[in-house]
C-alpha cells in the first residue's frame, strides 16, 4: 500500500467517522454567509473567514492575520446556492435521464422514491443569491473595523406529492378518483444590509499556555447591521383534487377544494386589492388586467421594510506548532476555535401589507358546449384564474415580519504551513431560506499550491440537502485575491441535492 493510498483511506475514514458521528446526533443546519473560500471548503468558515466577510460569519475574525496586509477592500463578491429535498438528482438521473416512459409502475416508483408513499409528503427547493457589492476592513494591533454591504434574495418553494402526481398523470380520473392533496408554497424575500463590524483582542485577559498550545489569543467581535427590505411574498396553497370520469351517467366533474393565502406588500399587494375591489363590482373583471407579477419597480424607490440585525462572534487562536503532525512536523501550526451567532434580528415589511385568502370548493364540468377539446382546458384555466382563485378576500395586515435566518456556528481551523483544515458545525434557529433547524457539519481543506494558488475542497453534511462536496481554486496573493468555489452533493437520494457557486469578486489587500 503506498502512502498516497493510505492517506486517502485515512482521510476518507475520518470523513466517514465524522459523518456518522454528527449524523447520530441528528444535528444538521446551514445558512451561514459564504464566500468563494468557505463555499469551496464545505460552507464553513466560522474559524477562518477574515476581512470584511467576517462581519457576516464571525466578527471576531476581523482580528485574524491570515493575510498580512491590514486593510482589505472587496468588490462584487457574489454567490448562488440552491438545493433542497425537491432537487433529488438521484431519482432524477434514475428515471428522467434514461429514456424511460414515465407511466404505470415506473411513474409510481419514481414518485415514491422522490416523495415517499403519501401524497401529502412535501419536498422543498430553496435558493439564495447573495452579493456583497462593497466591503472594507482594517485590522489594527488590538482591534479591527469593517464596513460591508450585502444583498440577499431568498426563495423557498415546496410542493407535495399530489402536485407532482398532477404534473405527471395529468387530469387522470383514475388517479384522482378519490380526494388527493395538491399543495404548494412559495416564499420570497429580498433585502439589503449594511454591517459595521468591530473586533478586538481581549488582551486584558491573560490566558496561560496550555500543554501544547502557546500564545493563546481571544478575539471577540460584533457587527450590527441595518436592514433594508425590498420585497417579500409568502404563498401557501392547499387543496384536494378529485375527478369523476362521468362513466356512471354523471357528468365529467373536477372537484377541487382549496384554501390559500398570500401575504405580500407594496405594488403586488395594491394590485391584488384593486383586483378584489373590481371583482366585487363586476365578476367579469379580468385578473390579468389588474395584476402584473414582477411589476415591483415602484417598490424599489423606497424601503418596504427596515430593521436591525446583529452578528456576534468569538475566536480563540493558538499556536500548536509543538504538536507533531506527520508531514507538518516542522511547520507552524495555528489552531483557531470559534463560535458565532449570526443573523439575529428581523425585518418588518410594512408598506401596504396585505393578506389575501380564499377557501372554496370548485366543481367544474366544463362550459358544456366547448367547440374544441382544448376549450375545456382554456375554460378551466379561465375559471380557476378569475372565478375561483381570483375570487379572494383580502385584508390589511400590520406587516410581514421576516426573521433573519439566525444560526449558531461553531468552527475550528488548523493552519499548518500551506495547508489549512477546517471543521464547522451549525444549527439554524428557523427554516427560512436555506436555513434549517437540521444541524450541519462542514469539513474543509485548503492547500496553497506554490503559495498563491489555493486548492480548496470540502464537504457538508446535513442541513437542507444531502451531503455536499465542494471545491475551489484561484489566485490568492497577499495583496490580491481572485478565487471561485463550487459545491454539489454526492447523492441526493435521501435528502435532495444542493449546488452552489461563489466568486470572490475583486479582493484587494494592502
Amino acid at each position: 500500500m503506498n502512502i498516497r493510498l493510505y492517506n486517502n483511506i485515512m482521510k476518507k475514514s475520518l470523513f466517514l467517522a465524522l459523518i456518522i458521528g454528527v449524523a447520530s446526533t441528528s444535528l444538521f443546519a446551514q445558512s451561514r454567509h459564504y464566500n468563494s473560500q468557505s463555499l469551496a471548503m464545505g460552507s464553513g468558515g466560522t474559524a477562518y473567514v477574515d476581512g470584511f466577510h467576517a462581519n457576516f460569519i464571525n466578527p471576531a475574525n476581523l482580528m485574524l492575520d491570515i493575510h498580512r496586509p491590514k486593510t482589505q477592500i472587496g468588490l462584487m463578491n457574489f454567490g448562488v446556492k440552491a438545493g433542497g429535498s425537491l432537487a433529488n438528482l438521484a431519482v432524477y438521473n434514475k428515471y428522467l435521464t434514461t429514456g424511460q416512459l414515465i407511466a404505470g409502475e415506473t411513474r409510481t416508483n419514481m414518485l415514491n422514491e422522490w416523495f415517499g408513499e403519501s401524497s401529502s409528503n412535501e419536498r422543498e427547493l430553496s435558493a439564495t443569491f447573495s452579493m456583497a457589492p462593497l466591503g472594507v476592513s482594517y485590522r489594527g494591533v488590538n482591534q479591527a473595523f469593517s464596513v460591508a454591504s450585502r444583498v440577499r434574495i431568498t426563495e423557498d418553494f415546496a410542493i407535495n406529492k399530489g402536485m407532482a402526481e398532477l404534473m405527471t398523470y395529468g387530469l387522470d380520473s383514475d388517479k384522482f378518483s378519490s380526494p388527493t392533496p395538491v399543495n404548494f408554497s412559495s416564499n420570497t424575500v429580498a433585502f439589503a444590509e449594511i454591517s459595521v463590524g468591530y473586533a478586538r483582542e481581549l488582551n486584558f485577559i491573560n490566558i496561560p499556555d496550555l500543554f501544547f498550545a502557546k500564545d493563546i489569543k481571544l478575539y471577540v467581535g460584533a457587527a450590527p447591521k441595518y436592514l433594508y427590505g425590498v420585497y417579500t411574498a409568502d404563498l401557501d396553497f392547499n387543496s384536494t383534487l378529485q375527478i369523476d370520469n362521468g362513466t356512471n351517467g354523471s357528468n365529467f366533474t373536477i372537484n377541487h377544494e382549496f384554501n390559500y393565502s398570500l401575504q405580500t406588500i407594496g405594488e403586488l399587494s395594491r394590485q391584488l386589492q384593486a383586483y378584489e375591489t373590481a371583482y366585487n363590482q363586476d365578476n367579469n373583471a379580468n385578473f390579468d388586467d389588474y395584476v402584473e407579477f414582477g411589476d415591483v419597480t415602484n417598490d424599489l424607490s423606497s424601503p418596504q421594510a427596515t430593521g436591525f440585525g446583529l452578528d456576534l462572534g468569538a475566536t480563540v487562536e493558538m499556536d500548536i506548532s509543538s504538536v507533531p503532525i506527520p508531514l507538518f512536523v516542522r511547520k507552524k501550526k495555528t489552531l483557531r476555535v470559534s463560535m458565532s451567532i449570526t443573523d439575529m434580528g428581523k425585518l418588518t415589511y410594512d408598506q401596504d401589507p396585505s393578506s389575501i385568502y380564499a377557501d372554496g370548493d370548485f366543481s367544474y364540468q366544463g362550459a358544456g358546449d366547448d367547440d374544441e377539446f382544448s376549450n375545456f382546458f382554456d375554460n378551466l384555466s379561465d375559471s380557476l384564474q378569475n372565478d375561483v382563485y381570483g375570487q379572494f378576500n383580502s385584508e390589511q395586515t400590520d406587516g410581514i415580519t421576516y426573521n433573519l435566518p439566525s444560526m449558531y456556528n461553531f468552527g475550528a481551523s488548523l493552519e499548518m504551513g500551506k495547508l489549512m483544515l477546517a471543521l464547522d458545525y451549525g444549527i439554524g434557529f428557523n427554516n427560512n431560506g436555506l436555513n434549517s433547524d437540521r444541524s450541519v457539519l462542514s469539513l474543509g481543506a485548503q492547500y496553497r499550491l506554490l503559495g498563491f494558488i489555493p486548492i480548496r475542497v470540502g464537504s457538508r453534511v446535513g442541513g437542507y440537502s444531502s451531503a455536499a462536496y465542494s471545491a475551489g481554486i484561484g489566485l490568492d496573493f497577499n495583496f490580491l485575491e481572485f478565487t471561485v468555489g463550487v459545491s454539489n452533493v454526492a447523492n441526493s437520494e435521501n435528502s435532495g441535492s444542493s449546488a452552489g457557486v461563489a466568486w470572490s469578486g475583486l479582493l484587494l489587500r494592502f
Binding site: 438528482l89 428522467l96 434514461t98 365529467f252 366547448d370
Partner: protein, 771 residues
C-alpha cells in the same frame, strides 16, 4: 516531499469533483391522460335565436330573414331577394313629329268703298245730257223722244274716290248709284266705266231701265252694277252715260244727274292700290305624329306630355301692311297656365293659341317679322286624332282707311303672304291613352359587345345573376333533397297598365354546377313555339328552346296605380320543385317583355314602375327516397397535434371519443368525418376516418312531426389507433359527410323545436418526450 503535497492537493480537488453528483441530460417520456367533456347533456334545438343552443341561429347574419315559422313551429325557408329586371320604360312610345310650316297668302282682295265721303261724286246738267240749254229752251217745251248716244254724257268721278287709286279686277261688279233730278224720265240710261285718261271703257256697261227695275225716272235714285272681267284695270275712274227718253216737256228748273256713289259689289281684285279695310286671310297646317309606336284612333286618345316644345319661327310679313296673326292649336289642350309666363304671344292655354296682335303688342309690322316663339309642352295634352295635329293661322291686315292722310293708299297683291315654320319636337310622354303598338322590351342590358337585341343566359354581361342568401351554403353541401312543396314567387310593385307578358328563362345552378330550367307545366306559364318571342339564347347562336323558358303576365292594372302583385310558381304549374330541390346557389335570368301584345287601347304612364323581387318559400316538409347527403369540407388546421412523425416530442397514443345522444329530430344521421391533408387528400399512409357515427331518427307522429316525447337515444364510442393519431398533424381540412334519411322514407316535417341532445367526452393519452 513538497511535490507530494502538491499532488495530494490536486488529488483532493479531483476527488471532490468526481465525487459529486451531477445531473445528466434529461431523457424521458411522460404519459398524460387527458379527459374532458366536450359537452354534457347539451340540447341543440334545430332553430332558434342566440339565447339558446341551436343548430341554426336565426339571428345570425346568414339566417336572420331566411325562415318563417307557423303556429306549430313548422319551418319554411323564406327568402326574398331583389331581382333586377331591366327598365320597362322602353315600352313607352316614342312619337316623332315632322316639321311643318304655314304660308298664309292674302288671296283675293275685295274692294268696297271708293270714297271717304258721301253724296255727289260727279254730276251732269240737262244740257250735258240732252243738249238742250235751259237758257234757251223754255220750260214746257216738248222735247221729242231721243237719246244722247251720239254724245254720251261723261262724268268724272276719280277726283272724289279718295279711297281708291287702281285695281286689277278679278271679278265682281261696281255698283253705281245715280240720282235723276233733271226733270224728265230716262227711258234707259246706259252707263259705262271708263278710264278717263285714255277714254277706254272698263268692264261691261250697265243699264238703268224699267226692264231692269231701276229706271231713272225723274227724281229717282237707282243703282246699276257694272261687271268686270278678270284682268280689267280699274283706274282714273269716270263714267259715260247714254240716256234715251220719250217725249217730254222741257222741265222748269231742271237739276242734275248725280253720281251718288260707287261701291264694290263682290268686287274682287288681284292687286289693289287703295285704302283698304282690314283684310282677313287664314290658312291651316298639320303636324303629323309618327304611328310606329302609338296611334290616336279615337278623339279620346291623347298623350300628356312630359316634355317637348313647339317652335314657331319668326313669321315673315311680305305685305305693306302690319298684320295680326293668330295660330290656334285646337288639338293641344289643358296646358298649364304657367306656359304663358313670359310668352306674351300665348293668349290661351286651352286650347293653345298663339297671337301676334296689336292688342298684346306683338303685331307683325309692315314688311317685318315676328319674334320666335317656343312653347313648352310639358303637361299639355295632345289629341292627335289620326296622329295629326292641325292648327289654323288667321291673319288680318290693318285698316288703312284709318291711317293718316297720305298713308292710306297702299298696294296689296293677292299673292303676298305671311309665312313661318312650325316645329314640334322633343316629345316625351308622361301618359298616353291610345293604341300602344306591340313592343318587345329587353329586360336585361344588351352586351355592348354585340348590341343585337339578343340576350344570352350564360353571358355574364347580359344575364341577371342572383344568389339566394342562405341557400348558397347549403347548395354545395346537400344533395338528393326532396322538398315537397317549394314555391318560387315573383313579387312586384308596378304601375304598368298595359297588358305585359314576360318571356324569360330562369336557370338554377347548384354548387355542383347542375342546372335546372324553370318552365311551366300548365298553360299559364308554358311557352309555346308560336309565342312572339325570339332572341333569348343560352349562348351566342344557341337559342333557348320553349321548354327552357317560362312566361308570365303582369296583373291587370287599368288605372295605372301603383299596385303590388305576385306571380307564384308552385309544383302545380311549374317544375319549381325540381328547380328548388336542386338548391340553386345561383339563379340566372334573361327575359323580354312583350307589351300590349294585342294592341288594344291602353294607357301607359311614364315612368313605368316595375320593381320585382324573387321570393323562395320552401316548407321544410320532405321525404328521402335516397339519403340526403350533406357534405362540407371545412378548414381544420391540426398541425398543432403532436406526432413523432412531425419531429415532436409529444404524441397522442390513445384517443377515444364517446358520444351519448337523444335524437328528437325526424331524420336519422349517418356521419362520416374524413381527415384531409393540405391538398384535400386523405391522410397517408394511414387514413383517418370516423365512419361509425349513426344517430337514429326520432319517432314520427301522425302530424308528420318528430315525437319529442319519445326521442331515440344511443351511445357511440369512437377510438383512434396510435397510428391514426400520429397522422393527425397532417390534417388541414375535415370532410364532413352526413347522410340524412327519414325512417322508411316517410314524409316528415321539420320544426324549430326539433332537437338533438349530446354528451361528448374525449379521452386522450399524450406522450411527451424530453431529451
Amino acid at each position: 516531499m513538497q511535490i507530494k503535497k502538491h499532488i495530494l492537493a490536486c488529488i483532493a480537488l479531483g476527488v471532490a469533483f468526481t465525487g459529486c453528483e451531477l445531473p445528466k441530460s434529461p431523457d424521458f417520456r411522460t404519459s398524460h391522460k387527458v379527459e374532458a367533456p366536450v359537452m354534457y347533456n347539451k340540447t341543440f334545438q334545430f332553430m332558434g335565436d342566440s339565447t339558446m343552443s341551436v343548430m341554426i341561429d336565426t339571428t345570425g347574419s346568414d339566417f336572420d330573414s331566411l325562415f318563417t315559422i307557423d303556429g306549430d313551429d313548422f319551418i319554411t325557408i323564406s327568402k326574398e331577394q331583389d331581382f333586377n329586371f331591366g327598365e320597362l320604360n322602353d315600352a313607352i312610345p316614342v312619337i316623332d313629329v315632322d316639321p311643318t310650316s304655314f304660308d298664309a297668302a292674302v288671296g283675293e282682295i275685295e274692294i268696297t268703298d271708293f270714297s271717304s265721303g258721301s253724296g255727289d261724286l260727279g254730276s251732269a246738267n240737262i244740257e250735258e245730257v240732252t243738249g238742250q240749254n235751259p237758257n234757251f229752251v223754255p220750260a214746257g217745251t216738248p222735247i221729242p223722244a231721243g237719246s244722247n248716244a251720239a254724245s254720251p254724257v261723261r262724268i268724272g268721278i276719280g277726283a272724289n274716290t279718295d279711297f281708291f287709286s287702281s285695281a286689277t279686277i278679278k271679278s265682281g261688279a261696281l255698283d253705281v248709284q245715280l240720282t235723276n233730278n233733271l226733270g224728265f224720265d230716262f227711258q234707259t240710261a246706259t252707263i259705262q266705266v271708263i278710264d278717263t285718261t285714255n277714254n277706254a271703257p272698263i268692264g261691261n256697261a250697265a243699264t238703268f231701265s224699267a226692264g231692269n227695275g231701276n229706271q231713272l225716272t225723274d227724281g229717282t235714285t237707282q243703282t246699276a252694277s257694272i261687271t268686270f272681267s278678270d284682268g280689267d284695270q280699274l283706274r282714273n275712274l269716270g263714267v259715260e252715260i247714254v240716256v234715251s227718253w220719250d217725249n217730254f216737256n222741257f222741265p222748269n228748273n231742271p237739276q242734275e244727274l248725280v253720281v251718288n256713289s260707287v261701291n264694290g259689289n263682290n268686287l274682287v281684285a288681284s292687286q289693289v292700290q287703295a285704302a283698304l279695310d282690314e283684310q282677313d286671310f287664314s290658312t291651316s297646317s298639320t303636324a303629323s305624329f309618327s304611328a310606329d309606336e302609338f296611334e290616336f284612333t279615337q278623339p279620346s286618345h291623347f298623350i300628356r306630355m312630359k316634355a317637348g316644345e313647339i317652335d314657331i319661327a319668326p313669321i315673315q310679313n311680305d305685305l305693306d301692311f302690319s298684320i295680326d296673326v293668330t295660330i290656334n292649336f285646337a288639338d293641344i289642350q289643358n296646358c298649364p297656365a304657367s306656359v304663358a309666363t313670359n310668352i306674351p304671344e300665348i293668349t290661351s292655354v286651352d286650347p293653345l293659341v298663339i297671337s301676334y296682335t296689336q292688342a298684346n303688342g306683338t303685331e307683325i309690322s309692315r314688311s317685318g317679322s315676328s319674334n320666335q316663339v317656343i312653347v313648352p309642352l310639358a303637361e299639355c295634352e295632345v289629341y292627335a286624332t289620326n296622329n295629326e295635329v292641325t292648327f289654323t293661322i288667321d291673319a288680318a291686315t290693318e285698316n288703312t282707311k284709318n291711317a293718316p292722310q297720305g298713308d292710306q293708299i297702299r298696294v296689296i297683291n293677292e299673292t303676298q303672304s305671311v309665312a313661318a315654320s312650325v316645329n314640334i319636337s322633343g316629345l316625351e310622354i308622361e301618359r298616353a291613352t291610345g293604341i300602344i303598338k306591340q313592343q318587345t322590351v329587353l329586360l336585361n342590358d344588351d352586351d355592348p359587345a354585340d348590341f343585337d337585341d339578343d340576350l344570352a343566359l350564360f353571358n355574364d354581361n347580359e344575364a341577371e345573376i342572383t344568389e339566394i342568401d342562405g341557400l348558397n351554403d347549403l347548395s354545395s353541401q346537400l344533395s338528393d333533397i326532396n322538398f315537397t312543396n317549394p314555391i318560387l314567387s315573383i313579387n312586384y310593385e308596378t304601375n304598368i297598365s298595359v297588358p305585359t307578358t314576360i318571356y324569360g328563362a330562369f336557370v338554377g345552378i347548384n354548387g355542383d354546377g347542375e342546372q335546372v330550367y324553370l318552365r311551366g307545366t300548365g298553360t299559364d306559364y308554358s311557352v309555346d313555339q308560336t309565342d312572339p318571342i325570339s332572341g333569348l339564347l343560352k349562348d351566342a347562336g344557341d337559342p333557348l328552346s320553349a321548354d327552357e323558358m317560362i312566361k308570365f303576365s303582369l296583373a291587370d292594372n287599368l288605372n295605372g296605380d301603383n299596385i303590388n302583385a305576385s306571380i307564384q310558381f308552385d309544383r302545380t304549374n311549374t317544375n319549381v320543385d325540381d328547380f328548388l330541390n336542386n338548391l340553386p346557389s345561383e339563379i340566372r335570368f334573361i327575359g323580354k317583355a312583350v307589351v300590349n301584345e294585342d294592341e288594344n287601347t291602353a294607357t301607359i304612364i311614364d315612368p313605368l314602375n316595375f320593381d320585382p323581387k324573387i321570393s323562395v318559400d320552401i316548407p321544410l316538409r320532405l321525404s328521402t327516397t335516397q339519403p340526403i347527403t350533406y357534405t362540407d369540407t371545412v378548414e381544420q388546421d391540426m398541425s398543432g397535434v403532436p406526432s413523432p412523425e412531425n419531429g415532436d416530442d409529444q404524441s397522442i397514443t390513445e384517443g377515444i371519443i364517446a358520444i351519448d345522444y337523444e335524437n328528437g329530430f325526424p331524420m336519422g344521421v349517418d356521419l362520416v368525418v374524413t381527415f384531409l391533408d393540405s391538398l384535400q387528400n386523405e391522410l397517408s399512409p394511414v387514413s383517418v376516418q370516423l365512419d361509425e357515427i349513426t344517430l337514429q331518427a326520432a319517432q314520427i307522429g301522425a302530424d308528420r312531426f318528430a315525437d319529442h316525447d319519445n326521442p331515440t337515444s344511443g351511445t357511440i364510442e369512437i377510438a383512434l389507433s396510435g397510428d391514426q393519431l400520429d397522422q393527425l398533424y397532417k390534417t388541414r381540412f375535415l370532410e364532413v359527410s352526413a347522410s340524412l334519411q327519414t325512417t322508411n322514407n316517410q314524409d316528415v316535417k321539420i320544426r324549430t323545436t326539433d332537437f338533438i341532445t349530446l354528451s361528448v367526452r374525449a379521452e386522450l393519452t399524450i406522450e411527451s418526450e424530453v431529451n
